[in-house]
Symmetry: C2
DNA sequence: TCTTAGCACTCTAGCAAGTCGAGTGCTAAA
DNA sequence: TTTAGCACTCGACTTGCTAGAGTGCTAAGA
């Protein structure tokens, strides 16, 4: 059960009176829990307000005229609009932390598994989903630009070798290559030494400009390297997901059509991929409210995303996807904590000298 | 639209008369399409049978007494029972192939992407899901036993090295290792040469028995190797999934409770993992009808699974998950084709000498 | 003996009418 | 400016009814 969000007076410059702000916040909070339109009487009774339902109704009407609330029908309670949510999120106390016990529990789970990036990524999605009781995603960190760092050629059988490519930032790719002629490990090592000297620090475009060599194997490997690097640049995110069931449990996604639109997010060509790319460019937690304006191709969901990793080297995105009425305060805290945790785990993995994510 | 399954007379030894067999098959087929109980009149009219509805009703009653059909209520049509499906699947002509044009289309998609196992695996799930209009899964191939084949130690920075482990069957793992003292590539190469000579062909248990060396780095690496290999043995399948939305569209999964049970299959600790392990031990396409007897922990779904890969080296599982009333004939053909295709793709990747999956 | 026409019976889906309750909006008084 | 009171609205739920699809049984026909 997430804690009740702070209901402090709005920060200066707000266009709402303190009471309107309180009422809007309470409606957002109540609707997040009940998923049903909030009536004036319910609100007063549930939160023990010192004003009468009629007063609340009057304020609600003003808020509706300002565009922060709507009605599903004449005699129903109020529901926040997208604008209402945007206002709420903007004026939220974003600095709240998760309860210390919860932070400990989460951290503990990461120290129980092997030190391996892929597993951390996967675990972060499922722990996040479990924590916020919504769907969560995490993308595998990768650098914004693929730059050659190291190649290793390993002879497996006389006619088969394993090529291991390491890129700046620590990403690795391996590939088996069939050879026309048999080669010894010594010969392959000489070749990889030469490649390492020539290619370190270059990107795919620069490598392409190199003059062809006399050695046919050299050329073959070079081709494969370029191909792999270009492919790496063009490759879609690898996304781990978890907790889809949580979201489908909530009433707004019981309709088939809604559920299908929601599920499409997790299928192969995901409609949120451009969003993730975009989100990676900025530090801090970002909240995206879908179903409207620039995000109308999304179903009615909200995304709470954060970049993580080492900004100059390789970064990934993690976050939560859930109904628009989610508990933003708690979710934002959870996402921020998880991003910081992953960043520091990665910093530990790749050496302490490199600080994790910048604390904005 | 899948083709109508062959309705030939049952193979000898069947406990049903030819007419009963036909009626059961038609009910299975009709119910697969309509998802609604099949009445006697509908059956006669839709399939142009030369017998009257009354006769069909009599036969239906016999089939019901034998346990192959049920009634949702007194005045409803008939629905196949699990036993009915099992009978139907067992007596199905399993040798049907996909239409040649479809096979070509599918093959084509695999030649359009880079030769990389992970991508093929992912693609196979989405193509399969698209083809049969149900959910599909594919696991990344891996050997049944992890056996050391090769190690490579690559110096990235003076105090950081990359360890690449290759196991029998071609699976690879890499890991960054922080070093207390600085090491040169030459020193690391000598170390990896020694390890390669000592460990090739051994499994984790045997490596554990080796006597400790004087060299501390040697011991450190050896520990990590054993740990990685043991971890590899214990690691869960990496599963790619696709087409979940197709299944959720069908009427049996519109109820929240059903949908959630179904989705649980695709979440982190999947209830079907033991099934996949089991299925990997046998060649050919296997059909599992869930929701009953040994599979009652599953929701009401059927699995059509096949192993693929190189039996002696490394194998994976691919298959389709859908409502029990799926089109078995078509689905089985699709799964078999996809398994064969993946097997031959892998054979091509790892060298022709090694034939793909045995044709059972 | 098998098949089939006829008929009574059963059960669900769907529709219409009616009731209940939560909630609004307005007005007038505090 | 706040609030009590009241008329009004609309959805959710209940009840009663009907049409339709389907079965099971019986008796006649092949």
């Amino acid at each position: 059960m997430p804690p009740i969000p702070r209901l402090s007076a709005p920060s200066s410059g707000s266009e709402l009176t303190p009471r309107q702000h309180t009422i809007l916040s309470l409606i957002v909070h109540e609707f997040a829990q009940s998923a049903e339109p909030v009536g004036s009487r319910t609100l007063v009774e549930t939160y023990g307000l010192d004003i009468s339902p009629a007063t609340v109704r009057n304020e609600m009407k003003v808020l509706e005229e300002l565009g922060y609330l709507t009605h599903p029908h004449t005699s129903a309670g109020r529901v926040p609009t997208h604008k209402g949510y945007r206002y709420f999120v903007q004026h939220l106390e974003q600095e709240a932390r998760l309860p210390a016990a919860l932070e400990r529990t989460i951290r503990h789970q990461f120290y129980q598994i092997q030190q391996e990036l892929d597993q951390w990524v996967q675990l972060s999605a499922s722990v996040l989903a479990q924590t916020v009781q919504n769907a969560a995603i995490t993308t595998v960190p990768r650098p914004s630009d693929t730059i050659f760092k190291h190649i290793e050629l390993i002879s497996l059988q006389p006619h088969t070798m394993l090529m291991v490519l390491v890129f700046q930032g620590g990403t690795m790719r391996q590939q088996l290559i069939a050879l026309e002629d048999p080669w010894t490990q010594a010969e392959l090592s000489r070749l990889s030494d030469r490649l390492n000297q020539m290619l370190t620090g270059l990107d795919a475009a620069r490598i392409r400009l190199l003059e062809p060599n006399i050695d046919p194997l050299f050329n073959q490997v070079l081709d494969i390297v370029v191909e792999t690097m270009e492919h790496e640049d063009a490759r879609g995110e690898q996304i781990y997901r978890a907790g889809i069931g949580h979201v489908l449990q909530s009433p707004e996604f019981t309709l088939q059509s809604q559920a299908r639109r929601f599920l499409a997010i997790f299928e192969q060509p995901s409609p949120i991929e451009p969003l993730l790319q975009e989100a990676r460019r900025f530090p801090g937690v970002q909240v995206i409210i879908g179903g409207e304006e620039p995000y109308d191709h999304l179903p009615d969901v909200s995304l709470v995303l954060s970049r993580y990793g080492r900004p100059s080297q390789s970064t990934g995105i993690l976050g939560v996807i859930g109904p628009i009425r989610m508990s933003y305060g708690f979710t934002i805290s959870a996402v921020r904590f998880m991003a910081d945790l992953m960043s520091s785990l990665m910093a530990g993995l790749y050496g302490e000298g490199d600080v994790g994510e910048d604390k904005s």
